[in-house]
Symmetry: C2
Subunit: 140 residues, 2 copies
DNA sequence: TGCTATAGGGATAATTTTATCCCATGGCCG
DNA sequence: CGGCCATGGGATAAAATTATCCCTATAGCA
């Protein structure tokens, strides 16, 4: 397993939180699981941009950090379900805030981010499903 | 300048927000500036773990993303001050929440993070100054 | 038998992010 | 003159994160 060469700086709450949320899909994973999309295969379908491998890794990290609980059903083919722990749930305030802020400022943000020379392309519509599920029949 | 090879996925609010906050020091920078620590040299002193170069880069990105405003005083030696824009201020809800969550769960988090094999060492006390300044005379 | 679904993880390449180092500006001070 | 201050940024090395590819296991179905 990979070993850090530069020590982590986790002095203020900000950095602690950042460390827990640090991963391309971690907020999305927590979000998905909070919405009861809890089996790895379901999550994978929900996040087409993500690789199975990365999801495995990040789910594992979230579990190791105590945000998720993993339940393995002794079946075949295997069945696994993740759920938020208490502290994991408490993180949802932040995730929700991020989601809302991003949505509220979508137009502005898409603009400034697309203007960024580091951005070559911008894909949309992936997590759209989230909202479709949260507000069914709205635009579907 | 570096050009992305893999396009950004900024479909849901979560990813938009994540993109804006994506950078080792960005939350800390916004936090510092919100507390009126607004000159690059001051910020650098506040965050000993950060390189001058990285702060420059991340400040610039935050500015390009519209979160910060940069004011250059025509003096010598140069004087620069950053301030939060309106949308930048609105981000502070999230930053504050992250800070509070991290602090509230500090003990638990330090534990699980230190247990992580990827963590070799954990440094503390850097941003402590934040709190000292926010609640002066408490432990100083 | 061959293929599907479900989940997990090793090895290694590719990509992105940070760290290091170095140079430039231009007054002021000893 | 030589060095300091404050700020900015190029070039390149190092580190960290993700992406790709491949292999495991087993029940069920055509």
């Amino acid at each position: 397993m990979y070993e850090r060469k530069i020590s982590l700086a986790i002095d203020c709450g900000l950095h602690l939180t950042k460390e827990v949320l640090n991963g391309k899909w971690k907020p999305a994973l927590l979000n998905a699981i909070s919405m009861d999309i809890k089996r790895p295969s379901e999550i994978l379908r929900l996040l087409p941009g993500a690789t199975r491998r990365v999801l495995n890794v990040q789910l594992k990290e979230l579990e190791e950090h105590g945000m998720l609980e993993k339940r393995i059903y002794p079946q075949l083919p295997p069945k696994v379900e993740y759920s938020l722990t208490e502290i994991g749930w408490s993180l949802m305030h932040i995730i929700d805030a991020m989601n809302q802020w991003g949505d509220a400022n979508r137009q502005f943000l898409e603009n400034v981010i697309a203007r960024d020379p580091k951005t070559t392309q911008v894909s949309k519509s992936v997590c759209q499903m989230y909202r479709d599920m949260a507000a069914p029949g709205k635009q579907a």
